[in-house]
């Protein structure tokens, strides 16, 4: 049997392919299945961009039974579930995904500084996150985010991630690359890293390895992993 940790895109696709190949699979997630793509599906511009992957994932959700449980260690696998702790003596596939690097800045630390990840989630909840926004960094995700934001907000951009923030309670201005931007919100992208706070060990797959917003790279990684490891086509 195989235990998959995380029921986002990578975990679900893995689970489906391995199940199809006749393996017995258990897949756990500490929250609802769907990972960040389910957040993206709530915002039209993101839905357009990630539609292909969202559809692929949604069809996988219907075919595999995701269990709600928080895997807190491996070797052996310990899962916290609604019925208490379960121990499973098996190997784990780590499909815990990526997380944005923390948007730390020089200067002060007022409210109104977000990573794209946090900003996107807040927007998907229906919150207004500010009024004048500076997007800092370079990535396709910021281009999509700009499209979403430019409807309701004043948006400016800078490529620099080395920024200096001023403001007491809320962001008042941001200095980047010698230029000063008046804004109340900063969305800063410093890249992504593996999300694996429990330091689980096992075979790492998908965005936990790729650490990107580019899901074609994630898809390729998952496919290569399944093909190579389990000889499943």
């Amino acid at each position: 049997m195989v235990v998959i940790v995380g029921a986002g895109y990578s975990g679900l696709i893995c689970a489906k392919k391995l199940t199809d190949a006749g393996l017995k699979v258990r897949i756990f997630d500490f929250g609802k299945p769907g990972g960040e793509l389910s957040t993206f599906s709530k915002i039209p511009e993101f839905r357009d961009h990630y539609g292909k992957f969202i559809d692929e994932m949604n069809s996988a959700v219907e075919e595999v039974a995701v269990e709600r449980g928080c895997v807190i260690s491996t070797n052996p696998i310990k899962v916290l579930t609604s019925k208490g702790m379960q121990v499973i003596n098996d190997s784990a596939i780590i499909a815990t995904g990526a997380v944005d690097r923390n948007p730390w800045t020089y200067g002060k630390r007022p409210a109104g500084i977000f990573s794209p990840e946090t900003a996107i989630k807040l927007i998907s909840y229906g919150y207004k996150i500010g009024s004048k926004i500076l997007l800092a960094g370079e990535d396709k995700i910021l281009d999509i985010l700009e499209k979403v934001l430019c409807v309701d907000y004043d948006v400016e951009r800078t490529k620099s991630t080395e920024v200096y923030v001023e403001g007491n309670k809320r962001v008042e201005s941001v200095e980047a690359d010698g230029e000063k931007f008046k804004c109340d919100t900063l969305i800063l992208f410093r890249g992504r890293r593996t999300f694996n706070p429990k330091n689980l060990s096992g075979e790492v797959v998908g965005n936990a390895l790729v650490c990107s917003y580019d899901y074609s790279l994630v898809k390729k990684n998952v496919e290569d992993f399944v093909n190579l490891k389990y000889r499943v086509d």
Binding site: N102, Y106, A111, Y164, N168, R193, P197
Partner: protein, 443 residues
Amino acid sequence: MRDVAIIGAGVTGSFIAKELSKFKLSVAVFERKLAPGLEQTKACSGIIHPFQLPFKLLRSRLCLQGNKMMDAEAEELGFEFKRVGLITVATNPLTFLAIPFIVLYLRLHGVKAEALSKKKLLEMEPNINDKVYGGVLIPSAGVVNPVEMTAKACMFAEANGVEFFYGCEVVGIERKEDRFLIKTKKGDFEAKLVINCAGLYADEIARMVGYDMKIVPGKGSHIVFAEKGFTSHLVVAIPLKPNKRTKGGGALIGFDGKPIWGPNLIDVESKEDTSVKREEIEGIIAKFSPLFKKTPEEIIAVYAGLRSIAGQDFVINEPVKGFINVAGIQSPGLTAAPAIARMVLEMVSKHLELKKKDEIVRPEFKISKSEACRSLEDDEIVCLCNMVTKNQVLRVAEQFKCFDAVKQITWAGMDCEKCKAEIMKLIGERILKDSEGGEIAWS
């Protein structure tokens, strides 16, 4: 009229309130922020220091006492406290030769210390640079979450009858015959005694009763890294020549095991200047990275706190009858807090009869990490990094209606970006719908 008014709910004011709550007294605490410990306390290093040089100072004495008291305080209040130990490293032959004298000197002052060979040192801390010569282990050094420690003292005090007024800045004090009239943004109060724990603004409060003193803000910047377990002890270098104003910071760790490097000491003009400069961060890395084979992975935050400095020592006095200053509480104020509280209790006893309460209430604390949920049945984990559950977040949010307090007390969302939005939503919807203007305010 109250018996005692405490101005400021930082760690000092909160521990004094906690001690006073055990006696038959009416006590009120006035805090300008919305929750305890959100100014000087929250941005300190969170270190329970083993000692403070020179030993003759009041703050050194209170540091030694406070350190010894800390296990009992953690037990009584239910906050997390770990004696992780401090290793002070000899980085050159001169400081290496000083090791036996350092050990002897510390032991003479009642501080446990043990010389470490280079081999032993590298076994204990494999990331330390091979070029070091040896070190001294001081096991009594510890770490806490300073805001948790402070908040729990407040919860204890509140459960035992102390009144807390948050968002309540003191704007004036008038001395009447046998009492003080304390003017605040939420109205006037009277008290027989006033205890000034106003931190950076203690000088302004003292001036209200005619006592002239000056608090100088001393900024200390820190870097927080993601790599938990990079070191398991606090690591500092033995200085060739001790600096009179600062212990010099170190490669410290937080109560959760994340490396925290710093603080430096920069004199600043403004009591609100907590801005971190790039040169400071580069300076801290340049200072401490030679102690190690590599630097820890991934900076996740940089922050600065302000020390309130009134000369070399704490200023604990009674310049006007019934007005007690607990001012200039710079480092090691967090460590000294329980001992300061005992000292102030003595001073209070000269004015008021202290009668122990028949029963002391110990509030139920369910926000400690060690009590994190054991089943997902009627709760859910929100922050996986620090195993904080939804109910824990809501419980703290109900008590202290502000985002910063929830973050600092539960530590939810302090490590990564995964759950921040969800926590904001949780608090926003359930607790703060109208009180904070509805705008998302969380950094």
